[in-house]
């Protein structure tokens, strides 16, 4: 046998030997060190929407399915699933579906085109986060919506559409309160609020009086009428803005005397499409 053939054979045998050794280790590990996974996790993952949106508080649908099997989540916490699907999951697991308050993303600004004073023209990249790092965008109000649709792009459910005034309209039927728009907005204008809470403060400017209204026609000028018109404890004035302290479905009169319309009674969607 020539030397070349021998070395070829030798390395071949060595590799084969290693393959057998490691293969048997894997086989033993598979046999004796196996971790039994709940088979329901796979089935539950099939039943879940698969958006991996994170609205439930877990990193994705599989993690939520794992949580369901050990009881750390309730089926209703999946805000993307229809109520039929939640019942199906609850029935499958034999647990109570639980209930959660339906939340939606509400924009704390109503300053669309024509309502806010423009100081300069921003001509850079058409993203809100791009505009906010160039002198805070071209508008006089540095707290309000820039209208460049970062939220529309971030929404994986197609629930946000920009309207002609340049404001994002949240479709309350499609919104799952996953919070992606809340995270992406550089001005922190989106807040998750119960759908039943019809009182919505549509301004985020801490400015008061004529200073606020000279910049934006629909700004809150902190007059405080809404606070005094609502039942005590519902609204509170905090640094120039009313804050809703308890979700109440009856306080429509808080909006009646608002001079600018900064506090609104919102039946469904905030803005016209």
């Amino acid at each position: 046998m020539s030397a070349e053939l021998y070395s070829l054979l030798q390395s071949g045998l060595l590799m084969a030997g290693l393959a057998v050794v490691f293969g048997s280790i894997l086989a033993i590990a598979f046999r004796y060190l196996k971790v039994e996974e709940d088979p329901r996790i796979d089935q539950l993952e099939e039943m879940l929407p698969g958006n991996n949106c994170g609205a439930c508080g877990s990193p994705g649908c599989r993690a939520f399915a794992e949580g369901l099997t050990v009881g750390s989540f309730r089926p209703a916490q999946c805000t993307v699933s229809s109520s039929d699907n939640i019942d199906r999951i609850a029935h499958f697991l034999g647990v109570d579906a639980g209930s959660i308050v339906k939340q939606v993303a509400r924009l704390h600004c109503a300053g669309g085109k024509g309502l806010v004073k423009e100081l300069a023209q921003y001509r850079g990249m058409t993203t809100c986060r791009g505009a906010v790092i160039v002198n805070g965008g071209g508008r006089a109000c540095v707290y309000g919506c820039l209208g460049l649709a970062d939220c529309e792009r971030a929404c994986s459910f197609g629930a946000i559409r920009m309207n002609t005034a340049g404001l994002p309209v949240v479709d309350t039927d499609l919104c799952t309160a996953c919070g992606d728009c809340v995270d992406v907005c550089p001005l922190h204008l989106f807040h998750l609020e119960p759908l039943a809470q019809k009182l919505v403060v549509q301004c985020s400017s801490p400015l008061t009086g004529s200073l606020a209204t000279s910049i934006c026609a629909v700004a809150c000028d902190a007059c405080g009428r809404c606070v005094s018109d609502a039942e005590p404890g519902v609204l509170e004035m905090v640094s120039g803005l009313p804050v809703i302290r308890k979700a109440d479905e009856t306080q429509v009169n808080a909006t009646y005397r608002c001079p600018t319309g900064a506090i609104q009674w919102v039946a469904k969607d905030q803005f016209p499409v």
């Binding site: 990249m125 791009g130 805070g136 965008g137």
Partner: protein, 446 residues
């Protein structure tokens, strides 16, 4: 001495200098105006804490707000008059920030109320830091980093050399050039003061070769002082960044995430050194600074000594600018400066120039695809890969952005300047930093 023999840093770009219209103009004093807006935050670090209330009368040079902690500095009255308000006012950052509005007293002689510091050599280092902090002095190059912090050397570290930065590599700006020509004695005394207080053996003044008169003047003054060297540098942008300056003079690189302090050096702007020397002479705190007002839309370009807090429109009016015709106003240089939307905003400690244009400086021509020409890599003085980073920013890959050292980018805009496809690279770098901050904030919530 030819250009080829002069030292410089690696990479960088050569934008047109455009300093001719103001380089030969002596610094003039800006007259006092009616109202001043004095923000509590004009520096890097925490905003100062107010000491006076609306309605009070203040004297020019009086401390209006005291430092809040160590990385913070004092704010003084630029003018004698009455405090009208302390509320949210326009700030050159584009945000609204807490600021005093001062109504100037038109009958006042505007003499300064000061407390002259004792002889600096009789002060301990701690006392020196205290005095400098109370003077409100910050780096006058543009970043406005509190100067007293640079006097504080951590235990176990020592400083070998103090370097003064007289590069002024940004196009258009000439304020540092004028300070070197008009106050060379203050520049040298300020440098000597820093060297003595920090125990440094050597001093260097780095100046780009387009300021030959300043180089000659300082070399003459320092001809009998062998421990201070004037280093003429080849003209290149961004040589005035402190890490680039150290690379140019010593061929030494500051490691990622470290400071010149880790190379046993401290870098200060020439204007800061001059202001420091002046302060220990007459005790006048930082209440005014030299600002270059120039650009195609300025009929009378000037180097102006402007009281801090003067609204931008007043300065522009003083230089005969037609406010109706202008299209773009930039504070600082054209490369790193900030476009302004509100001319009510005031001059603050870090404002080195006001550039005014009738046509926007960088007209958006439309972005084209990256052709992998690698010009941005050859331009980046930090040896980053801007085109790759830009692609990551578009995908919002915040982890990878950090691995590729986006945070080392100091936004000099050399990459945007050379990109043949008009990709807004530096804008994307800044956007990437915002995304990293957002991702970190989200982490903290969890």
């Amino acid at each position: 001495m030819t250009h080829a023999t002069l030292p410089t840093f690696r990479h960088g770009v050569h934008p047109p200098e455009r300093k001719a219209s103001t380089a030969a103009l002596s610094v003039e004093r800006m007259p006092f105006v009616e109202r001043y807006i004095v923000p509590l935050s004009q520096h890097i670090g925490k905003a100062a804490v107010p000491l006076v209330k609306p309605g009070e009368t203040v004297v020019r040079g009086q401390m209006l707000a005291k430092p809040d902690g160590f990385i913070s500095t004092a704010v003084h009255a630029p003018v004698s008059g009455k405090i009208l308000n302390l509320d949210l006012q326009p700030h050159p950052s584009g945000q609204l920030m807490q600021a005093f509005t001062i109504q100037a007293d038109s009958f006042s002689a505007q003499t300064v109320d000061t407390q002259v510091p004792p002889d600096v050599d009789s002060l301990s280092i701690q006392e020196t830091i205290q005095w400098v902090q109370n003077s409100g002095l910050v780096g006058l190059g543009g970043a406005a980093f509190p100067t007293h912090v640079k006097f504080s050397v951590p235990q176990g570290k020592r400083i070998q050399a103090v370097i003064l930065n007289g590069c002024e590599c940004e196009p258009y700006l000439t304020c540092d050039h004028r300070v070197m020509l008009e106050q060379p004695g203050n520049v040298v005394r300020g440098l000597r003061l820093m060297m003595r207080k920090l125990g440094a053996q050597k001093g260097y003044i780095g100046i780009e070769s387009n300021k030959a008169d300043a180089i000659d003047l300082l070399k003459n003054i320092l001809s009998d002082q062998p421990d201070v060297e004037v280093v003429a540098l080849n003209v290149k942008y961004p040589q005035g960044a402190e890490k680039m300056l150290l690379d140019a003079i010593f061929q030494k690189e500051v490691p990622s995430g470290k400071l010149p302090l880790d190379l046993e050096m401290v870098v200060n702007n020439v204007g800061t050194a001059a202001a420091l020397a002046q302060y220990f002479d007459d005790g006048v705190p930082l209440i005014e600074r030299v600002v270059t007002v120039t650009g195609p839309a300025v009929p009378e370009p000037k180097n102006l000594m402007v009281p801090l807090g003067t609204p931008l429109f007043e300065v522009l009016k003083h230089c005969a600018v037609d406010l109706e015709r202008i299209r773009q106003v930039i504070l600082g240089g054209p490369m790193m400066g900030f476009a302004q939307k509100n001319l009510q905003a005031p001059i603050i400690k870090g404002t080195s120039g006001i550039l005014v244009f009738e046509q926007p400086l960088a007209e958006p021509i439309g972005e084209l695809p990256c052709i992998r020409c690698s010009r941005c890599l050859d331009a980046c003085p930090m040896f980053l890969n801007p085109s790759r980073l830009a692609a990551m920013v578009r995908r919002e890959w915040t982890d990878e952005l950090q691995q590729y050292h986006l945070m080392d980018c100091f936004e000099c805009a050399s990459c945007s300047y050379v990109c043949p496809s008009n990709i807004p690279l530096v804008h994307l770098m800044r956007l990437g930093k915002l995304m990293i901050r957002q991702a970190k904030a989200k982490e903290q919530v969890k």
